[in-house]
Symmetry: C2
Subunit: 199 residues, 2 copies
Amino acid sequence: MTRTYENNRSAELLDAAAVRFADAGYHKTTIREIGDAAGMLPGSVYYHFPSKADLLLAVYDEGVERVGGAVDAALEGKVDPWDRLEAALGGHLTAILEASAYARVLLSVLPSDVPEAAARLRDARDRHEDRFRELVADLDGDLGVDPALFRLFMLGAANHAKVWFHPGSRRPVDIAAELVRVLRGSEASDRSSEPAGAS
Amino acid sequence: MTRTYENNRSAELLDAAAVRFADAGYHKTTIREIGDAAGMLPGSVYYHFPSKADLLLAVYDEGVERVGGAVDAALEGKVDPWDRLEAALGGHLTAILEASAYARVLLSVLPSDVPEAAARLRDARDRHEDRFRELVADLDGDLGVDPALFRLFMLGAANHAKVWFHPGSRRPVDIAAELVRVLRGSEASDRSSEPAGAS
DNA sequence: ATGAATACCAAACAACCGTTTGTCAAGTCT
DNA sequence: AGACTTGACAAACGGTTGTTTGGTATTCAT
């Protein structure tokens, strides 16, 4: 049985790559920088990953898993469909705006940036966005719009926060709450307004 | 009087640059490609523009002007604030999704992609987004959210269409209409629901 | 102890990047 | 006609890029 050796710095490498990819994007990040940050020469990176694109892909997959975890955690215990949507968006935004470089990569590098890996990057991203497809489908009231369009508007609005968000003022979960409040107005035409219990 | 000569291919150069920047982004576009597309050697590009960043900036400015023009044209004759917002979004989306490579550049290259020109790129972009600040401010009813946040959500949702839009199915103006309909729900809490005329 | 796998280093490779330099025909001004 | 400007070409420059190759100390299985 030949198995791991455990002087392995693959994890540090991946961390370093995640930070650089998230902050500078794919093309502005060089193998040399990543290697440097992991205390490694550029050539050594290729012992761990066969190419720069594969390195990105590994980061991307890990990113999907982490945002997914954040969403799952936020979702725990919530039962009302709108509450669930808000919680999921809260987890999503927290991960992407504050928590993890891995998560941020999902927004700062587009699949089209790396044609040779575009299909697999899109797969990874879809794997995450599918959660929201479900959450939107579970909303009871008539939305007044195509649910697919509703989801795209919602994710577009949320992810755009990456551009204007700066930590310290509004918390990601507050942004999620406000967004859901705006979107929720659209169902108020039929079953209009009980102010929803509270206290 | 020393004046122009008019064998000048600056315009073709700018067009070529706009298309490449829009389709491939800043870093993946090379001066050689742009020169090629304009029938020019790479060195000759520098007769017209002092640097790649300056070339982008010229494209960007022209882009702002063209989307601005599309918005102005769409706005003509509209008086109701919500109608105006919808029209403006329609013009914005049409320009960005179908009409002009110059317009598309506003979405496909971020100011942060080119640090040496980031400030001036942001200026250009703000010049355009300020129109929407006004349009949102003119909405009468209480929005139920911070107008700034409302604007950011709206532009985020709209611009995200660049990712999922494909020509032939839904028209940009229809997307704008749907988006406004979703957002408009949020004003229905106080002055709830006259179904707004219609046969 | 021996042999193989591990996890790197050191150095280079070819390709490509944005940009500069020197040159020059064609057009315009005087 | 001569001087000067325009709009390019041709060729290279220095630097950076992702990647490859060959070597080597350390660790592990036998």
